[in-house]
Symmetry: C2
Subunit: 196 residues, 2 copies
């Protein structure tokens, strides 16, 4: 590497990766109440994509809150920073050519719009539209009970609002469909959008 | 999704992805002075991996400092947080099955050890061992000149130290080798480690 020689630098582009992978990059942003089935659906969709030889990865509370965002609490500022970092990481994954699923309650329109702004055209908002009463009765992690006992404050659906997405790219009603049917519906929506 | 049914949740594992991709996941952590050739080599290695049908992505100042880490400055605390976040994101990419290259000066042993601790066995430290005098004379971004003019403080190699890696997995001397030869050496080291 002699001095003064301008090195040929070629950055592999997102388009190069999409062509190679034979599918577009995308961020599938699942939003909904705790217990709505966001993570279940995000995982099930990822599994189906993987079967289809698609490059896919999932970001969720498990791998983000204990790692990248473990310095963040639940104040308004930290909540916003949580969404910002997830969005920036999701964007990097999209840049790498992957279809990435994220599963976070993300109850505020402002935050989801912020995610959309950061991620851009690859952002696909999927509203997991399960009624609060069903989520409460499922209560898979016992969190509603804890919140009702006063052990958790600012719990979405109890003492903190969930702002219903107005124009999500995809809306899924889980109470009347099996997981398989929900996945099928999402996959069909992605096909319609020519993601793969 | 009837209430009380335990949903079959299957998370795609890193091993599943490695088997599918036909290569191991890995984080190639390039460290060295500004102007040492870190980014050039990280990009050139990524390009070579891409040619070999390997899933690869690069994290560098361009896509991290303007996005995920744009809230961070250059204080000691921010510098440490910068490395922590990069390491956590690199770990997520490794979890996704990719071979990822990172190109950051990362001058302090403590920080590189922290990265190694976060990332674990996938971490491969590549010391781009270009003598400071050569980096200064290359000065591809004019940063040494700015630092010498007093426009940048705490510049690595001038008024801030670079702690030489003691046991890097790979060491590359760029002053006597072409980019192609450097890349070849790194690829051979990865083959030796059975990364692919």
């Amino acid at each position: 590497m002699a001095k003064n020689i301008v090195w040929q630098e070629y950055q592999i582009t997102k388009n190069d990766r999409e062509v190679r992978n034979n599918h577009k990059a995308s961020v599938l942003w699942f939003t909904g109440y705790s217990g709505s089935g966001k993570s279940t659906l995000a995982n099930a969709v990822a599994k189906e994509l993987f079967k289809k030889e698609i490059q896919t990865f999932s970001l969720d509370g498990d791998n983000v809150r204990h790692g990248l965002n473990k310095d963040l609490g639940f104040s308004d500022l930290d909540r916003k920073e949580n969404i910002r970092r997830i969005s920036e990481v999701a964007k990097l994954f999209a840049e790498s050519g992957m279809i990435i699923t994220t599963a976070f309650i993300s109850p505020f329109k402002e935050d989801r719009d912020f995610a959309r702004e950061i991620i851009g055209d690859d952002f696909i908002e999927i509203f997991v539209d399960t009624p609060l009463e069903i989520c409460k009765s499922r209560d898979p992690k016992g969190l509603y009970q804890k919140a009702l006992n006063g052990e958790i404050k600012n719990f979405t659906g109890l003492d903190s609002p969930y702002e219903i997405p107005e124009n999500p790219e995809i809306k899924i009603k889980t109470e009347s469909l099996s997981v398989e049917k929900c996945v099928e519906k999402i996959i069909n929506e992605l096909l319609k959008r020519e993601i793969f």
